[in-house]
């Protein structure tokens, strides 16, 4: 994350806002102290994550099948094989 002083923000407001629009986040400092962040992301919602409800949902999905962990592991195994083959060429 890039840091930004108040003076830099005053001088380069337009380019900083362009960067924020592109997805960059800045730590804003005044007299060496962090006062806040400039980011495209909205502040975290007040609501707390309800994981209990999520895992209840997951439990109810058993009949519908899954196997996604195996699918991902297979994808990554193929990636590793490809990189190993490249490594053997080097």
């Amino acid at each position: 994350m890039k840091t930004l002083t108040m003076r830099e923000l005053n001088r380069k407001t337009a380019s900083v806002l362009d960067a924020v629009e592109r997805g960059e986040t800045f730590e804003l400092r005044r007299t060496g102290r962090t006062v806040g962040y400039l980011t495209r992301i909205a502040p975290a919602p007040e609501r707390k994550p309800d994981w209990k409800a999520h895992f209840e949902w997951l439990r109810k999905q058993k009949k519908k099948g899954g196997g996604f962990v195996k699918e991902l592991e297979e994808d990554r195994r193929r990636l590793r094989d490809r990189e190993n083959a490249l490594s053997n060429l080097a």
Partner: protein
């Protein structure tokens, strides 16, 4: 504290056939302090690509809904040129000792760029977890003895 998840942790949240012991561990971990998970755009695509293979399940829709709601999962944009630079820096420091995969370098670099404190990963088939620890992230589930040894050796060599 910011918790960033690798795809290997995220898919376990949507796979009803995942190992019950692992699902229980994740549930306990996330319910404690009601943690929210930060997700990179790269992880989002990787997970979605897997979940969409079985459209008869509601997994992909649920994942998308959770990201849109932004309470349990929070999608975070990063500056990808910065991430690739960070990935290169990790490669220069740890390629010799850890021999990480290119994909893992980018995933870990994205977590670092997002300001993560914790990296949640179940990928024990690669060097992703030791790489994350060497990059300064705390890893959950905790590293085993061999992984810790790798991190120690990699860090020592990188600092030499």
């Amino acid at each position: 504290m910011r918790f960033c998840a690798d795809s290997s942790a995220l898919v376990r949240l949507y796979d009803p056939l995942a190992k019950p012991a692992e699902v229980d561990a994740i549930r306990e971990y996330l319910e404690e302090d009601q943690k929210a998970i930060t997700v990179s755009e790269l992880c989002r695509v990787e997970v979605l690509n897997v979940l969409l293979r079985k459209p008869e399940t509601e997994a992909a829709k649920q994942f998308d809904d959770d990201l849109a709601e932004g309470v349990r999962l929070r999608l975070e944009s990063v500056d990808w040129p910065d991430v690739f630079q960070q990935a290169e820096s990790l490669a220069r420091r740890f390629a010799r000792t850890l021999r990480p995969g290119g994909h893992d370098l980018v995933l870990v670099a994205a977590a670092v760029a997002m300001g993560a404190t914790w990296f949640l990963s179940f990928d024990r088939n690669s060097r992703q977890r030791p790489l994350a620890a060497a990059a300064g992230l705390r890893v959950w589930p905790p590293l085993d003895k061999d992984e810790k040894g790798l991190v120690k050796r990699a860090t020592r060599q990188a600092n030499a």
